[in-house]
């Protein structure tokens, strides 16, 4: 138990990820306003991406752009580029899906005149 606690304190990236992920997920489940749910979804997406990128960090390393083309390259001097590539794709796709969700919100508002989940359900019946 004490071991786990000190391990969590030594990994603040994990702690931040867990707090934002769970809070965003909780907002998605409990709030009734559809835009608020999308804000929670955005927080969940970005927290997972943040955790992936934080794994790529190395102590004493710099950005993954090579200094010179002629000298031999030491991999320990540059941050791990592979999580960066994966998350570049994930950010753009995440914003695109959020855009589709917002377009759905606008269409729902035009049809039912509300963004509140309960009111929409009442008007459906």
């Amino acid at each position: 138990m004490v071991d786990t606690f000190s391990a969590v304190i030594q990994r603040p990236n994990l702690l931040t990820f867990v707090i934002i992920f769970l809070w965003g997920f909780y907002i998605m489940v409990t709030r009734y306003n559809l835009v608020k749910k999308l804000i929670g979804m955005y927080l969940v997406q970005t927290s997972v991406i943040y955790f992936l990128v934080s794994i790529s960090a190395k102590k004493g390393a710099t950005v993954p752009i090579l200094f010179s083309a002629t000298e031999s390259v030491q991999a320990a001097n540059y941050a791990n580029p592979l999580p960066h590539v994966l998350t570049l794709t994930a950010i753009v796709v995440g914003v695109a899906t959020t855009g589709v969700g917002l377009a759905l919100c606008a269409a729902i508002y035009r049809r039912y005149g509300s963004l509140d989940e309960q009111e929409i359900i009442e008007r459906l019946e």
């Binding site: 786990t4 030594q10 990994r11 603040p12 994990l14 931040t16 867990v18 934002i20 769970l22 809070w23 965003g24 997920f25 909780y26 907002i27 489940v29 409990t30 009734y32 306003n33 835009v35 804000i39 927080l43 970005t46 943040y50 990128v53 934080s54 794994i55 790529s56 960090a57 190395k58 102590k59 390393a61 950005v63 993954p64 090579l66 390259v73 991999a75 320990a76 791990n80 580029p81 592979l82 999580p83 960066h84 590539v85 998350t87 570049l88 950010i91 753009v92 914003v95 695109a96 899906t97 959020t98 855009g99 589709v100 917002l102 919100c105 606008a106 269409a107 508002y109 035009r110 509300s114």
Partner: protein, 175 residues
């Protein structure tokens, strides 16, 4: 170096995320979400992921905030429900349990900034050391994104195209 700027930046991240969640007025919440995106870009730039930071600042903080604001100006900018019923028992049990489970994995994860973490020793040194000979690009992220994994990038553009078509169909005037 790793711990000097980290704690204040992560606290700012948490505070802006909390603001985006707790504020009642949805336009203020969306603007706080934009500032959260900018702080996230700052954290990433400081972790060495400059390309990701650029994309987050432009696409996440810029385009995402604009999309949220456009939707809110077209619809209701207030959260009309001032009083919510208390959350159900299932959520009160499941979410703390999930949090404890996620934090329990901390023992097995590599330390923050560890150069010998499994993600950094398996294949990524090969990409860093070989990419200039093979692609003649100094930026390793660009060479992986546009050369080794260019088919994935094409799939990404297909997803964005599909999302654009879906938005256009949903927002037709006479839908």
């Amino acid at each position: 170096m790793i711990f000097s700027f980290e704690i204040p930046l992560l606290l700012l991240l948490l505070v802006t995320a909390a603001g985006a969640i707790l504020v009642k007025d949805l336009i203020s919440a969306v603007l706080l979400l934009g500032s959260y995106s900018f702080f996230l870009a700052l954290v990433w730039a400081w972790l060495g992921a400059v390309d990701v930071a650029f994309v987050e600042a432009v696409v996440g903080a810029g385009l995402g905030t604009v999309l949220f604001l456009l939707t809110l100006f077209g619809t209701a900018p207030k959260d009309t429900r001032l009083r919510r019923p208390p959350p159900s028992l299932v959520t009160l049990i499941v979410f703390p349990l999930l949090g404890v489970l996620l934090l329990f994995t901390a023992n097995d994860l590599p330390e923050f900034g560890d150069p010998n973490s499994p993600a950094s020793v398996h294949i990524s040194p090969t990409y860093i050391e070989q990419s200039y000979q093979e692609t003649h690009t100094l930026n390793v992220v660009t060479s992986v994104l546009m050369d080794y994994r260019s088919l994935d990038t094409m799939g990404e553009t297909v997803v964005i195209f599909a999302a654009g078509i879906a938005c256009a169909l949903l927002l037709r005037r006479n839908a």
